[in-house]
Symmetry: C2
Subunit: 481 residues, 2 copies
C-alpha cells in the first residue's frame, strides 16, 4: 500500500519560508573546518544543529572526538548524533542518516558575487551561500522532515538515527574510529537497518538519481634518483644519466592518450560488462554537451554518452598528476634535478582488489625501468588506497528511495555511480554490515567547493519532501525487495 503523502507535501510547502530561514541561519555560521581560527564557528554550527533537533524533541548528543592529529592544541568539533523519536519504536525500521555541518573555505575576495555567508536568493530561486548544497541544505533537510511531520500531525514512519560530523571537508578526522565503535552491539548506531547519505549531486539538473557505486583510488609515487644533488645542465649535461629522463619514460608507459591503461593484467581484474548493465547507460539523463560544459573543452576520450559514463563509473582510469622535485616554476632554469617523484593514481572498480593492483603496478614499473638499463635508482610505492564501493540497487533501501522519487518528481530516478570516492560510505557499509544509499539533494550545477556555491529552492523544498517520502516507503518496503 503506497503511503498517503499529500498532507506531508503540502505541509512542507507551507513551511518553505521557515526552512529557507533555517538554512539562512546555518549558512551565516562560517563553519570552515580547514581554518583554525574558525574552529569555534564549526562547534557553534554543530550546537545550532543539535539545538534545532532538541527543540523538536530528538535525543541529541555532542560527542567529543579528541584532539586534532598534528594540531594537538585544537579540539576536533564534536560528532553530533541523535535519535528521533527519542524513544525507539521496536515495530519500525531504523534508518541511520549521515551528513556534515562543516564547509569549505570561502571569502568574498575569491570571486564570489555575493557574501558567501549571507544566503542570497535570486529571482530564479537559486540560493547562494557557502554550505548551501554541501552539506547544510541536506542536513537541515532531516530537521525539516521532522518538523513537517509534527506540523502535519503524521506519525513518524521510522526510527531515525543521525550522525553529523564537523570535519568532512578536512579528512573526517577521528570519524572512522567513532563510527566503528558506535556500530558495535549495544552502542548508539547498533540497531541501524540501513544507511542513507545525502552528500552528493544529481548527474544533471532535471532528474534525481540514486547512487549505488563509487570508484576507489590507489595513489602511487615513482621516485627516481641519481646524483647527490641538483646539477647544472651546462656542466653535467651529456655526462650523467638524468633521473628526469628516466621518469618521463616510465610515466609515459603507463597510459595512452585515450586513457588505455598499459599495465598488463589491470583490465583482467575488472568485472565483465554484462548486456544488462550495458543497456542501463542509454537511459541516463546525461549528454555529451553536459560533459563538454564541465570540461570546458571538447577533449573527451569518447564521442558518446554511454562509453563516457562507463569511463567515469565502471572502468578504471589512470591519471598522471605531476612531478615533485623538478623545476616547476615559470621561466627557464637549467637544472638537472637529482631526485624526481612522479605521482599517479588509478581509479579502481569491481572486482579490482587494491593489493592485486599494487602488485601489477610495482611489477610493471620495475620492468619498464629495468628495460631502460639506467644506473639511477627506482623506488615505487603506494601513497594511499581506498577501495571502490558498490551497493545493490535492488535492496529495499533503494527501491523505497526510487518510489519516493517517483512520488515527488513524477519520474524514475537514474541509478548512477560516481567516479570519485566518498570514503565514509565504505566505512558505514563495513561498520553496519547494512545497505548504504546515496540520496543526493543538490544538482550538478551547485558548484560545491567553488565560488558561488548554491542550492536551488526547488531542490531544497522538493528534497525535503523526498527525504520524508523515502522514510515512508522504507517503512512499507518488503524485506525481500
Amino acid at each position: 500500500m503506497a503511503p498517503q503523502l499529500d498532507t506531508y507535501y503540502k505541509t512542507v510547502d507551507s513551511l518553505a519560508e521557515d526552512f529557507i530561514e533555517r538554512l539562512r541561519k546555518a549558512v551565516a555560521i562560517p563553519s570552515i573546518s580547514a581554518e583554525e581560527a574558525r574552529r569555534q564557528d564549526v562547534v557553534k554550527m554543530g550546537l545550532f544543529l543539535k539545538g534545532e533537533l532538541e527543540a523538536l524533541g530528538a535525543h541529541m548528543e555532542a560527542r567529543p572526538l579528541g584532539k586534532q592529529p598534528g594540531k594537538e592544541h585544537l579540539e576536533l568539533p564534536p560528532a553530533v548524533i541523535g535519535r528521533y523519536p527519542a524513544k525507539k519504536d521496536e515495530s519500525k525500521r531504523t534508518i541511520l542518516v549521515y551528513g556534515h555541518y562543516d564547509v569549505q573555505p570561502a571569502d568574498l575576495s575569491d570571486g564570489w558575487a555575493t557574501d558567501p555567508f549571507t544566503l542570497t536568493v535570486d529571482d530564479k530561486g537559486r540560493m547562494y551561500g557557502r554550505g548551501s548544497t554541501d552539506d547544510k541544505g541536506p542536513v537541515l533537510g532531516w530537521v525539516n522532515v521532522i518538523q513537517s511531520h509534527q506540523k502535519a500531525g503524521i506519525e513518524f514512519p521510522v526510527n531515525l538515527l543521525m550522525c553529523f560530523e564537523g570535519m568532512e571537508e578536512y579528512g573526517s578526522e577521528g570519524l572512522d574510529d567513532f563510527i566503528e565503535a558506535e556500530c558495535k552491539p549495544g552502542k548508539f548506531f547498533a540497531d541501524a537497518d540501513a544507511v542513507c547519505i545525502s552528500d552528493n549531486y544529481w548527474l544533471g539538473t532535471e532528474k534525481p538519481c540514486l547512487t549505488y557505486g563509487l570508484r576507489g583510488c590507489s595513489y602511487y609515487s615513482i621516485e627516481i634518483s641519481g646524483p647527490g644533488q641538483d646539477l647544472h645542465s651546462g656542466v653535467f649535461g651529456g655526462t650523467a644519466q638524468e633521473p628526469m629522463t628516466d621518469l618521463v619514460r616510465v610515466m609515459g608507459s603507463l597510459v595512452d592518450t585515450d586513457g588505455n591503461i598499459q599495465i598488463p593484467g589491470i583490465k583482467e581484474l575488472v568485472a565483465p560488462l554484462t548486456k544488462e548493465e550495458e543497456s542501463l547507460y542509454k537511459d541516463i539523463a546525461f549528454t555529451m554537451d553536459n560533459l563538454y560544459e564541465s570540461l570546458g573543452s571538447q577533449t573527451s576520450i569518447f564521442p558518446d554518452k554511454e562509453r563516457t559514463l562507463m569511463g567515469r563509473w565502471r572502468f578504471p582510469s589512470l591519471s598522471l598528476h605531476g612531478v615533485e622535485g623538478a623545476f616547476s616554476q615559470p621561466g627557464a632554469k637549467t637544472v638537472i634535478p637529482a631526485k624526481v617523484i612522479g605521482k599517479f593514481s588509478i581509479r579502481t572498480v569491481p572486482d579490482m582488489q587494491p593489493d592485486d593492483v599494487d602488485a601489477l603496478v610495482f611489477k610493471y614499473v620495475k620492468q619498464v625501468f629495468a628495460d631502460l638499463k639506467s644506473k639511477n635508482k627506482l623506488n615505487v610505492h603506494l601513497q594511499h588506497s581506498g577501495k571502490w564501493w558498490v551497493a545493490s540497487p535492488k535492496h529495499w533501501n533503494f527501491t523505497a528511495a526510487a518510489k519516493a522519487v517517483e512520488s515527488v518528481f513524477k519520474v524514475k530516478p537514474d541509478l548512477t555511480r560516481e567516479g570519485g570516492s566518498i570514503p565514509v560510505t565504505l566505512t558505514f557499509e563495513q561498520a553496519t554490515g547494512k545497505n548504504v544509499l546515496l540520496l543526493p539533494m543538490g544538482s550538478s550545477t551547485d558548484a560545491a567547493h567553488s565560488i558561488n556555491e548554491k542550492l536551488d529552492r526547488r531542490n531544497y523544498i522538493e528534497g525535503i519532501k523526498l527525504l520524508g517520502a523515502y522514510l515512508h516507503y522504507v517503512a512499507e518496503e518488503p524485506t525481500e525487495g
Copy 2:
C-alpha cells in the same frame, strides 16, 4: 726572447699579505646584485675597485648603465672601466680584461661554516668568503699585477683596458649594449687587440687550464592544454584526454637514458670529430673519480674520461628540467592538470646554428604529438637561446697564456672547453672581432655560488704571477703565432 720575470714573481711573493688584505676588504663589502637592499654595497664595491686602481695611477671611469629593467626605481651599478697606463703607449699591444665585482647571495644561515663576508683563511691556505673566487680574487688580480710592477720597477708590458661590471650574477643587465657601443671606433675599448676573461675555473685542483670553447644553450617549452580548468581525477578520469599524459610521452621521445638525442637531424649538425681533436682528450688532467665526486654518484653515461669530457664539451646534450602547471608539491593530490608546460634545453656546439636547431625541435615535437592523435592543443616554443663559442687556441693570445702557465706552474696547461655558457665571452668576441681567452684563477673545488666559497692562497698568489706573466708573453708573442 723569453721575458725576465723572476723579479716580478719575487715582488708578488713579497706583497702577498697586502694582496690578501685587499681581498679581505673586498669580500667585506656584500655586493649582492640580486638583492635590492644591497644595491648600495654593489656600488660601494665598484667605487672601492675604482679607487684602488686610481691610487695606482690608472685612468678610471664609473659609467652609469641606467635603470634596472623591471625595477625602474633601481639604478644599475656602474660599469667600472679603465686604462693603465693612463696614457696609451702606441708601441704596445692593448689587452682588454673583464671581470665582475658583484657576488651571489650568501647568508651564514645557509650553512656557511664562517661568516661569508669575513675572509677566513684556514691552516691549509683556503681563503673562505663570498666572492673570493667569483670574481673578486681574479679582478683584484689585475690590480695586484699593476702594483707589483710599480713596486718592482718593471715597465708595464701592454696597454691594459679594464671592464668590470656589477650585475653579472643577475644577468649582466645593460652590459651587452654598453660593450658593443664602447667597442666602436673611437670609443673606450676600440683599440683592444685581444680579450682576457678570468671568471671560470680549472678542471681540477692541480693543473691550470686555458679555456677556448663554451657550449651554447637553446631552451624550449612544450605547452599542452585541453580542459578549461584543472579537473578532479575521480570525476573526469577515463572520460577526458589528459594533457599530462601527452606531455610525458612527448618529453619521453626527446632523449634516452644514455643522453642520445632522439630528434632527427641534430647529430648531423655537429662538427665531425677529427683524429687530432680526439687525441687531445687523453692528456687532460681529469679522472672519472673527479666526475663521480662532483656528481655525488657513479651514474655517469660513459665509463671513460675521454668520452665524458667530449660529452661535456664538444657534443650536444638535452636535459629535461621539469613541468610547470602540474602537481609539484609533496603529498597526494588527485588533480588532472588542465595545462602543463614541459621545459627542456639543448646544449649546442659547433656547427649547430640555433635557428636550425629550433626548426628540427619544432618539427619533431609537432610530429610526435600528431602521432598521439590527441584532441589537446600543443604549443612548442623557444624561451631563449645563446650561441656556443669557440676560439682558436693557436692565436698568440693563447700561446702567450700557455707560456705564462709554464713559467709560473712548470707545466703545460690543459686546453679545455666548458659545458656551460658565459654569455659575455661571445659578446666580447663579436663586439671586438678579436680573440678571447678564458684564463681561470680558481680551482674546481672553489664552490662558486655555493656555501663556503673559497679561493686557495696558492691559486690567488700564483694567479697574480700568471696574469702578469701573461701580459709579458703577450707583448713578445709574434702575430703569426
